[in-house]
């Protein structure tokens, strides 16, 4: 029997279109997405139908985790240094230039002022660890959150306050934070929530 000869085809493919597509996708992702900021606590926000987007800049974030621990951070690096300087004056702690520099790259943190020096001396990995997520004290005896908010407000007038709480955060913990804000006359704030579709409603009179 004569053998059927299968013509050998080259397996080499032109990868140029594939490359085009991959870079196109890459472009899309770079342009549409924004970087996730590292946060010291994992927070699962409740959902709401609200469609107001959080502003891009001038945001002061207050995080409240499931156990009621409070974390705080502002987005502008230049402001951070000023705020720490003010806080140092209030608590009589002097920071070195190196420490200011280190603080300016810390996004959201949750350490009391007494532990601030050791916190800044840590490596970035250690700072992200669970041990350094102590929470900022904000009870009536020692309300450091209040001082942070006042200091930040005096540095940047346009700051908007955003509270990010977890679904299972208890109401008293949130109330403590809101009460603190009201104490320093910050009566307008935003609650960060996830998006939920609004359902069509039926009403009867």
């Amino acid at each position: 029997m004569p053998k059927v000869k299968i013509p050998r085809k080259s397996t080499v493919q032109d990868m140029a279109p594939m490359c085009d597509m991959a870079f196109l996708l890459l472009n899309f992702f770079i342009l549409t997405s924004n970087f996730t900021q590292k946060e010291p606590a994992i927070i699962d926000t409740p959902k709401s139908i609200s469609e107001i987007k959080i502003p891009e800049t001038n945001v002061m974030k207050i995080l409240v985790d499931t156990k009621g621990k409070v974390f705080w951070g502002i987005d502008k690096q230049a402001d951070r240094i000023e705020v720490l300087r003010k806080m140092g004056e209030v608590y009589n702690i002097s920071f070195t230039d190196e420490e200011y520099k280190r603080f300016s790259v810390v996004g959201v943190f949750g350490v009391p002022m007494s532990a601030m020096k050791t916190f800044l001396a840590m490596s970035p990995e250690q700072r992200d660890s669970k041990e350094s997520a102590l929470g900022i004290p904000c009870d009536s005896l020692d309300n450091q959150l209040k001082d942070w908010v006042t200091a930040a407000r005096s540095v940047n007038k346009d700051l908007r306050i955003a509270i990010k709480g977890d679904k299972s955060t208890t109401y008293p913990a949130i109330k403590k934070v809101m009460g603190t804000l009201q104490d320093v006359n910050e009566n307008r704030f935003n609650l960060i929530t996830g998006l939920e579709a609004e359902q069509e409603l039926t009403i009867k009179k």
């Binding site: 490359c19 991959a22 409740p46 990010k164 679904k167 109401y171 949130i174």
Partner: protein, 204 residues
């Protein structure tokens, strides 16, 4: 893998420049591009978080007499344990406790009551929304008219009081109900011993 095939054969006559193929293998480049895509997909988020705006009354404002709310318009919502909510309409009159209803965040719970109470505003705003979706009015016009409708008199006034057993999601959910039902006047108020007494036997 990468290869640049060049023609080696053909005797190699002197003087004739070697013809190099310009064909380049793009596979490594594709690898790189996908690697970057993966990196960006993992480190970034596409969705921006939504926010809810909330205005609280200033604390130092001394209100001697809290504004009187007509009993027929007042709705008090109490947030209890395990995502339970309780509500009553009106205020205690002549020592008779108002009837407290147990409810939840479903469409047949509190929302039904609020939509009924706020029927006029809700229907008006819905008409307005339809106009907006039909491109009859602009977004600015919509916002302006919505503000006007929300400011009309006769809408219910909701007082939100949370117990210590309530969670943050309850608070957000109840504020959400206010947005859904277009309630213009609502406030988060500290719970009173009277209210706690009302739901003592219900909030388990």
């Amino acid at each position: 893998m990468a290869e640049i095939s060049s023609d080696h054969g053909g005797g190699g006559k002197k003087g004739k420049p070697k013809k190099m193929s310009t064909h380049v293998d793009f596979t490594p480049m594709v690898d790189l591009a996908f690697l970057l895509i993966t990196f960006f997909m993992l480190t970034t988020t596409l969705i921006k978080p939504q926010t809810m705006e909330l205005a609280m009354p200033p604390k130092n404002d001394k209100v001697e007499d809290p504004p009187e709310v007509a009993a027929s318009r007042a709705v008090t919502v109490l947030l209890g344990k395990n995502h339970k909510i309780f509500y009553y309409v009106g205020a205690p009159a002549n020592g008779v406790d108002p009837k407290v209803e147990t409810s939840d965040f479903s469409t047949n719970g509190l929302r039904k009551l609020l939509l009924q109470k706020n029927y006029n505003q809700v229907t008006k705003i819905r008409e307005l929304k339809n106009k907006l979706s039909d491109m009859k009015i602009t977004k600015e016009e919509f916002d302006k008219q919505k503000q006007k409708i929300m400011g009309e008199k006769g809408s219910p006034v909701v007082m939100i009081k949370a117990t210590t057993g309530a969670s943050y999601s309850d608070l957000v959910d109840v504020l959400d109900e206010m947005a859904i039902c277009n309630i213009a006047r609502y406030a988060i108020i500290d719970i009173t011993p009277y209210d706690l007494g009302l739901i003592k036997n219900l909030d388990i």
